[in-house]
Symmetry: C2
Subunit: 366 residues, 2 copies
């Protein structure tokens, strides 16, 4: 186990699975079912025709073929959604549409293509198998059968299945709320005009986008100045969320208070200074059920740290429990991140772009 | 070119790219930029320190090392966001934090780790390169430089870049509105109780989920009964959308009117009866700028048809123009669909599940 894997495991051990909530099925898309879903009735709820044609008593068409067509009397019609009350006997047929209920006495459907409809009579040039072209009651699902399971991720196919089971709402795991705070007197937000020495707090927005992309809810708490009281106020506010991410304020500068603020709020610091670049330095802790991540102020370092440490925790919170096989593990999600950024200059606040453009190394001029 | 590719190409030729709209950057996630984004100022907007330490005139530390440390006078402090007015001369230093503006006269920063801070004096045990540990004005972006391009898909990294360029809103392509109609007297929706011969219109919800997953906006128009006037009314309503999808009402049954309804509304039918299973039969047409897709009533057939025919068109509408290389083509998105459903029984209204559970072929009893 690498150091990175050890830390990821430690984080997941501290991560709770959130509670469940009801969601309309279209809102459940991309989320995880929190309970099994069983059919409350047989689907289909009656024997129905799989084709357009004629419902017949199978014995009536013994030996029927193109060469030896058999003529039956048409005794009724069973369009989709409007079952007819007729019973089909030997030598009789009921005109039927796809989805139409099979009338009593019928045990096969001959396809329209194999017939010549003459109104009161029908000429049949084929002999379907017994129960041929019929979808039997309960063929798709039997009443009580579990169709979808707690832990299944809801995609379009599952939405369709839930609808076919007449489930308008389902229980899914809650979405974690992720409070995001940037720290540093040099930071400004959109409402402030730029001035020398001030940098846009772009990390706030990059992290918020990652939270959204993971399916969780970002809560942008804004910029905390380099001032312990103000940081404490914002961090306390963040503790009402499921996860708090701070960026900046962790290195050796005179005005870096974040670690102290964490401790003053009673956060149980599980580790600090992860041995990776450019993610280092980083802090992870927990208080009550809230996870706290402290990342560097540099946007690319924070965003890579998010992929490595926060995303697996968010997936677990939302019910995507880490599986034993690698393919299902939340860690595999990390691969999707643009890891080409891993190599970029951690000292550059806007280094997400320079790592595409520049390769001059560590802060050296061009 | 296969028949399928020929039809996909024909659909894309009829597909317009939609207009643009302003979106807050977090709402632009997953969407496509509709114009180039240039830097309106240098980023960073001043020379700033990449580390915590001391800004110095490089010449002051000639030959400085652990063995031969050099002592400088500390003449000021430049924390992040609060530039100091001091000019640094030979033998002088300014205490500086990461992000702090480099004072006049300084052309290097010696890292905190390489110093001993004695208040009015600092002992320096290292000689940084000229411009070492400094991020130069405009190093990330020069004013006027194009950083992001029309056609770029906005991910978290792009959101972060847009924020660092102080763009709170950006122009992105509009999301297509996709009207969805199911047809058939046998269908019922959630508000109706189930009865023999009635099936849930699950296709409506499955298609809506696919539309959402593609990043477009579903408009569920509900169920049209097997009645030409009612179908015409719902279809006319659908024509206000960018795309209309109908499911059902296309086969050879007595009550299948959809094709006629399309024609009565003036839809230019481009092709019908696509040679694929279980997607067949299908119809594609256009009227004004609205695309019309008619799919089979069976959910899996409709959902596979969506992936094959509608999704590439929606991607084009949203600015994801088909590229020449296969990797960038919207067609590649099709691979993500669970094509294991391709083999399933097209006659089963709830066949999305049976194709997992059953393999008894075409409507035969178990």
């Amino acid at each position: 186990m690498t150091e990175l894997e050890r830390i990821q495991t430690l984080i997941l051990e501290s991560t709770p699975v959130l509670g469940r909530e009801m969601a309309p099925i279209l809102d459940s898309l991309g989320r995880v079912l929190a309970c099994d879903i069983a059919a409350t009735e047989d689907v289909p709820c009656a024997d129905i025709s799989a084709v357009d044609g004629f419902a017949v008593f199978h014995g009536s068409l013994d030996g029927a073929s193109k060469q030896n067509p058999v003529v039956l009397s048409v005794v009724g019609e069973s369009p989709a959604g409007r079952p007819c009350g007729v019973t089909v006997g030997q030598g009789e047929a009921v005109r039927i549409m796809t989805g139409g209920v099979i009338p009593d006495g019928a045990d096969a459907v001959v396809k329209k293509e194999d017939t010549e409809d003459q109104g009161p009579l029908v000429v049949c040039a084929n002999n379907p198998a017994r129960w041929g072209n019929i979808r039997l009651k309960g063929e798709a699902f039997k009443e009580g059968e579990v169709v979808l399971f707690a832990g299944d991720v809801v995609g379009p196919v599952e939405v369709c299945e839930l609808a076919s089971l007449r489930r308008a709402h389902v229980h899914v795991y809650q979405k974690p709320v992720v409070a995001i705070i940037s720290t540093g007197d040099e930071l400004s937000d959109f409402h402030e005009s730029s001035s020398p020495g001030k940098t846009m707090s772009s990390t706030l927005y990059g992290l918020a986008a990652q939270v959204l992309e993971t399916g969780a809810v970002p809560l942008l708490l804004g910029i905390a100045p380099d001032n312990p009281l103000e940081q404490q106020r914002l961090l306390s506010e963040g503790l009402r969320a499921d996860v708090v991410i701070t960026s900046g304020g962790l290195s050796k500068g005179k005005y870096d208070f974040v670690k102290e603020t964490f401790q003053s709020l009673g956060v149980d610091i599980k580790f600090r200074n992860i041995a990776m670049k450019p993610g280092k330095p980083a802090v992870f802790g927990a208080i009550n059920k809230t996870l706290i991540f402290g990342f560097p102020g540099n946007p690319s370092a924070s965003m890579i740290s998010f992929e490595q440490f926060v995303k697996p925790a968010l997936l677990k919170m939302m019910g995507r429990l880490p599986a034993t096989d690698a393919q299902e593990s939340p860690f595999s999600a990390i691969d999707s991140f643009r890891l080409d950024h891993m190599g970029c200059n951690s000292h550059s606040r806007a280094s997400l772009v320079p790592c595409r453009k520049l390769s001059t190394g560590d802060g050296k001029p061009l």
